[in-house]
């Protein structure tokens, strides 16, 4: 690393920087110095760094153009460590801190000697607009190959390859009035709203609030404007009802006055957030603001003039020149030529001169400029060349001169001889474009105003624009508009107006501006040197002209064809100029070409802020049962069922080797079939149903009958949607005449409760019944297998005798000393008791079962074993055998449909449609692979004739498929067209790898078809 450079362009006085302290930083490997208060951009300019990047497409050297969010070129990669890498940072918005490390995002091997530049120079001619579409889109299969190289050559930085050490937050905010932008208009508005007592939030994207007043040559109450800013901020900070958010960009304006703010809390301090009290501070915050009223006081962006060579480093916006001089104490050059179409631009020349530098000339497009600032320039002895413009900047790595000529704007030509003025800096001003980005996020179309030569925001309900954002630029008027907006917004939220006396501002005479966008050149646009419109996306005036010649007439199409205003730039500097050029080429007015729409986000938002805390182990809720700890300690593998973590299987170590899933499941299956197993079934949805009409309600929502279910008994129920398709199933127990406990599928629990409430509240409010979820209240343990009775008998006072506690009965008593409801139902086909206890006791009961279960070899099993066991019995799983297109009859469950119930039930009518009665519907069958070693793939398509020409008619698919240790064979459930009539027939399953499996259609019940094992 070389010695730190001198800040050769730093002024000795002025600006809001602290010259008593020096900060060092590194840019592209070189060390430099700056001061607190600097942005990275102002520090780079102070050090005379001209080239900050290479352009996107042509790889031309580029310098700093602007001083704020609109900067198109100075986009850097930040970060001294890998984990601290931040791409796509505007150097104009990045506060300088000690040790800051930045590099250009484009340029390889570096910005000074760029190899891609050669490609750009040679290839430039060959890369017209639409180049990517025309060249790389065919053949489509090659795009992935091209893309890698295109992305390597282009791009705005890279993401870090290490885990981000920082944390990010979301903040949900609610306020009466949100003020976006704390310049003159915003501060006036905030003051008016705050004094009325409204809840006010003020967001401003800069390091300091105050906007243009921080660098203005205008005075308020005869004093520098920043003194008024300080006073107002003091007052606002004193109010409880005001939240001030500096370094906070309003990036998106969504429906219903929902605005997202990106607050950068520590990015002015370092690569990563500092640690305070042992905790790393929150680096960035996304404020999700619900605002009653929104005030857009976002100001205006100065529009550059479009002339040849306007991208050579040393071409700046006039306003940026003033900002660098007055706010940062940097004059970004020595000899200035100013090219302007209006009075405002003159301030750059006045500031430049006051900074002690040379103003070569002001080139004014107007024939006879008048106004107070024009007079001031004349009084300073500055040369003014009227009726003219800079038509071309000379120089390659830095401006060396300006070619100036008389122009005829209407005829769009150069009307006089060209003179070349030696200079190192060209400032240009084509007037202002209100910052209407946020307003256009709402979908409201902006309106063109000829008097200000710009679009003002289209407004939706609850939003006002004021000041520059509204096309109002004279300081006194801006303040007045701000106060009015603040009062109106507060009043709309019910807060009475308070008086706000405005500070007195100077009233300056201004001459009218002229509409100049693209400056004519001696050569026609398509032949002349490049005139850049969108510096970030390398879109030229010629490119837009070519697009119009190729038939693109709508600005929306032109934008897409040329890439103007794309990406993170969002056309802040270029869009209006581009529209003006398109309008000229098409011989239309600007509004006729269309209006331009900006999308969120206004400036890039770091992914961290978007994600907030919803990442890593907080990405999504994980729901645990009361027995989770036990499962974890037992080494269970978990399966996600909805948000639940359910034990999937419990691999054991067998002679030093951990079982595979297949081995573990085979062991667990045999344990249940031969001895006794236990499942944590707590996740099943449980709904407590009470009321005299509970039974009637059940009969209407389930397909089967409930009339005769006695207290102490349980019944399986099947639930359809109104389209007759199965949506849920489960066992419901009759606890008392007016009291039932319904169980639902794990994933369906919440939706089914809503479904019941929906039908009760909208269709049958006359039924006296209430529903409450008790899913989490009960823990459910399924003890199943031939030894289940013996095991449970050891720790319960309930009589488990086969004749007094029958299959499908439930009883209450104590299990392991804990009050329990025990249901004798079975999902495995074995003798089963489902023990329900209050969840706080669950761990004790479970552990007691294991204490006593040792001698029975009690085996915990997971969902995979549960699936195999139930499939052996042909029990369906809703969502696996069904997919929203399966009726009870398709499942062969006619026995579970009560067509003759006295009152209609949900799905009944749909089940009488001809389509649901059709005989060749896909029906649930069992499949037995001809080769018992084969386990068919779930989802595999089934055909009747594997020799049929492709495409073969597909007649169904496999819904569940497993290996059965007890059958010693693969087996499957499947839906097959007309399957119920095809028992014994052979079907074929052609696989992607070319082999075809054969299987026989069999009954869905593979094991213990008579159900003897559960009735012991």
């Amino acid at each position: 690393m070389s010695q730190s450079k001198q800040q050769v362009y730093r002024l000795n006085t002025g600006g809001r920087i602290d010259r008593s302290r020096t900060l060092s930083f590194t840019f592209n490997g070189e060390r430099y110095q700056g001061h607190p208060g600097d942005t990275l951009a102002s520090a780079l300019l102070a050090n005379g760094v001209d080239i900050v990047n290479r352009s996107f497409k042509y790889s031309r050297p580029r310098g700093i153009v602007a001083a704020g969010a609109e900067e198109p070129n100075a986009i850097v990669q930040l970060g001294s460590s890998e984990a601290g890498q931040v791409p796509n940072v505007r150097a104009t918005q990045q506060a300088l801190y000690d040790g800051l490390t930045a590099s250009s995002t484009n340029g390889w091997p570096n910005v000074q000697r760029d190899l891609m530049g050669l490609v750009g120079k040679l290839g430039g001619q060959f890369m017209p607009p639409g180049f990517y579409y025309k060249t790389f889109m065919a053949p489509a299969s090659m795009w992935l190959t091209y893309e890698k190289y295109i992305r390597k050559a282009a791009g705005l930085g890279r993401s870090p390859m290490e885990t981000d050490p920082d944390s990010y937050d979301h903040f949900n905010q609610h306020c009466d009035v949100l003020v976006v932008g704390a310049g003159a208009a915003g501060l006036a508005a905030a003051l008016a709203a705050a004094r009325s007592g409204a809840r006010v939030m003020v967001a401003d994207e800069q390091e300091e609030m105050g906007g243009s007043l921080l660098a203005s040559r205008e005075t308020l109450e005869g004093k520098p404007a920043d003194q008024w800013v300080a006073r107002v901020l003091d007052e606002l900070a004193g109010y409880d009802n005001v939240t001030l958010l500096p370094r906070t960009t309003a990036n998106g304006y969504h429906d219903h006055n929902f605005v997202t703010l990106h607050e950068r809390r520590t990015e002015h301090l370092g690569d990563t957030a500092p640690v305070e009290n042992g905790h790393r501070q929150v680096r960035a915050r996304l404020h999700r603001v619900r605002a009653g009223q929104v005030i857009l006081s976002t100001g205006a962006h100065e529009r550059p003039l479009v002339y040849a060579g306007n991208d050579v480093p040393g071409n700046l916006l006039a306003g940026a020149v003033s900002t660098y001089i007055r706010r940062y104490g940097v004059a970004p050059g020595r000899k200035l030529v100013l090219s302007t179409s209006n009075d405002y631009g003159y301030r750059a020349a006045l500031d430049w001169k006051e900074a002690g530098c040379e103003v070569v000339a002001i080139v004014d497009a107007r024939e006879a400029p008048t106004g107070d600032w024009v007079d001031a320039a004349r009084a300073q002895g500055i040369k003014i060349i009227a009726g003219s413009a800079v038509i071309e900047a000379k120089g390659s790595n830095r401006v060396t001169g300006a070619r100036v000529a008389k122009i005829d704007i209407d005829a769009f030509n150069v009307s006089g001889p060209v003179q070349e003025l030696a200079c190192d800096t060209i400032a240009s001003s084509g007037g202002y474009s209100p910052v209407i980005h946020l307003a256009s996020h709402t979908g409201a179309r902006p309106t063109w105003r000829d008097d200000i030569l710009g679009f003002v925001p289209g407004l939706v309900k609850g939003v006002q624009a004021c000041g520059g954002a509204n096309g109002c630029y004279a300081l006194a008027d801006v303040l007045a508009e701000g106060v009015e907006a603040g009062i109106k917004a507060a009043a709309a939220m019910g807060h009475a107006a308070q008086t706000v006396s405005l500070p007195s501002a100077e009233h300056l005479q201004q001459g009218p501006a002229v509409a100049l966008f693209q400056v004519p050149h001696e050569k026609p646009t398509l032949r002349g040197p490049k005139q850049f419109v969108d510096l970030q996306n390398d879109v030229t005036a010629a490119g837009i002209e070519l697009a119009t010649r190729e038939g693109f007439e709508s600005i929306e199409h032109i934008k897409r064809y040329t890439a103007m205003g794309f990406g993170t730039d969002q056309g802040k500097l270029g869009n209006i100029n581009g529209m003006a050029i398109a309008a000229r080429c098409l011989n239309r007015s600007i509004p006729e070409v269309g209006t331009t729409v900006f999308r969120p986000n206004y400036t890039p938002v770091t992914f961290g802020a978007i994600v907030g805390r919803h990442c890593r182990d907080l990405f999504d809720p994980e729901r645990y049962t009361a027995l989770h700890q036990w499962h974890v300690e037992r080494g269970a593998e978990f399966e996600d069922v909805g948000q639940w973590k359910r034990p999937w299987y419990y691999p054991q170590k067998v002679s030093g080797k951990t079982e595979t899933m297949h081995e573990a499941v085979a062991r667990e299956c045999l344990a249940v079939r031969e001895k006794v197993g236990i499942l944590d079934a707590s996740t099943l949805g449980k709904i407590d149903i009470q009321g005299p009409d509970a039974r009637e309600f059940l009969a209407r929502v389930y397909t089967n009958k409930w009339e005769k279910l006695a207290v102490g008994r349980c019944r399986y129920g099947l639930m359809c949607k109104d389209d007759g398709m199965v949506t849920d199933d489960g066992v419901t127990g009759c606890l008392a005449d007016n009291h039932f406990l319904m169980t639902t599928t794990t994933g369906g629990a919440a939706a089914i409760l809503e479904w019941l409430e929906l039908w009760h509240q909208t269709e049958w409010p006359e039924l006296d019944v209430y529903f409450s979820s008790v899913t989490d209240h009960w823990a459910t343990m399924t003890v199943t297998g031939p030894d289940a009775r013996k095991l449970l008998g050891e720790i319960t006072d309930i009589d488990l005798d086969r004749d007094s506690f029958k299959f499908m009965d439930w009883r209450s008593g104590k299990v392991a000393g804990v009050p329990a409801r025990v249901f004798r139902i079975s999902f495995t086909g074995e003798l089963t008791f489902e023990i329900n206890v209050q969840a706080n006791y669950a761990m004790h009961v479970w552990q007691t079962l294991f204490k006593h279960g040792e001698k029975y070899d009690l085996t915990p099993y997971g969902t995979e074993t549960m699936h195999v066991l139930r499939a052996e019995k042909g029990f369906i799983i809703v969502g696996q055998e069904t997919d929203g297109s399966v009726t009870p009859e398709d499942l062969g469950m006619h026995w579970c449909v009560g067509y003759d119930k006295p009152y209609s039930w949900i799905g009944k009518r749909a089940l009488t449609r001809s389509d649901t009665k059709r005989e060749n519907r896909k029906q649930l069958v069992g499949l037995k692979p001809k080769d018992p070693k084969v386990v068919l793939e779930e989802g595999a398509q089934i055909v009747f004739d594997p020799k049929h020409a492709i495409p073969m008619p597909m007649v169904g698919h496999v819904t569940s498929s497993y290996y059965s240790p007890v059958l010693e064979s693969g087996f499957a459930l499947a839906v097959v067209k007309g399957g119920h009539q095809k028992l014994g027939e052979t079907v074929y399953l052609p696989m992607a790898d070319g082999q075809t499996f054969e299987a026989e259609i069999v009954s869905t019940i593979f094991y213990d078809p008579k159900g003897e094992r559960q009735n012991v």
Partner: protein, 211 residues
């Protein structure tokens, strides 16, 4: 009687119980911060939680007589007894949450059922399914702002209010029993997620967990 099955799920024998946060304390710890803490978290475990459903008028009569509390008739409100140990919260137009000291819920349910007689109502014991978590300290409101989209500003969320709302990506009940105290009623299965969220979001305030 309403012909429903009542069931005392508690046992008086010395059987170990685990609150919904037992797993979380073991796995995520319970940070102790000294005086620097701006946020305190305390679980009030093993309380009795009942869901009452029915018409406001009959339920109001019953809870007045049995519990000595009015049924909160206004939406999103909470009433509590002088000790703060017993509370009733409006949940929906025909639904209230009653929280009482652990063990009181079954006698309360029995008395309410007696009092309500043949009226149409429902009482469901959900004591095992949820837990009460208290937040206090100067940063409590800010922590909630990080977590819930509901407006918790004092002007919008005064003492005595309670709502059911989105909590990060789960759902909780949030209530404000006193000026400096907030309560969350958290579903058992979501408790660990909520707890980890609170620890993470509360880290910058030096969250202190009292057990």
């Amino acid at each position: 009687m309403s012909n429903a099955a009542t069931f005392d799920t508690r046992t008086d024998t010395a059987i170990p119980v685990e609150s919904p946060l037992a797993y979380s304390y073991r796995n995520s710890g319970a940070p102790r911060a000294g005086g620097a803490s701006r946020l305190q978290l305390r679980e009030r475990a093993m309380q009795g939680h009942l869901i009452l459903r029915g018409g406001a008028i009959v339920l109001d009569e019953a809870v007045r007589d049995v519990l000595g509390l009015n049924l909160p008739g206004q939406p999103q409100t909470l009433v509590q007894d002088a000790s703060g140990e017993r509370s009733i919260q409006w949940l929906s137009p025909d639904e209230w949450l009653v929280i009482v000291p652990g063990g009181e819920e079954f006698p309360l349910e029995t008395k309410l059922r007696e009092h309500l007689g043949s009226a149409h109502f429902a009482i469901s014991d959900v004591s095992g399914g949820q837990t009460l978590v208290e937040l206090s300290g100067e940063a409590a409101r800010e922590l909630l702002m990080k977590t819930v989209i509901y407006d918790v500003h004092p002007s919008h969320f005064p003492v005595g209010k309670g709502v059911t709302t989105v909590f990060a990506k789960a759902t909780t009940i949030i209530r404000r029993p006193s000026e400096d105290r907030w309560e969350l009623v958290i579903r058992r299965s979501f408790a660990d997620y909520c707890y980890r969220w609170l620890l993470d979001a509360g880290a910058e305030y030096n969250i202190n967990v009292q057990q």
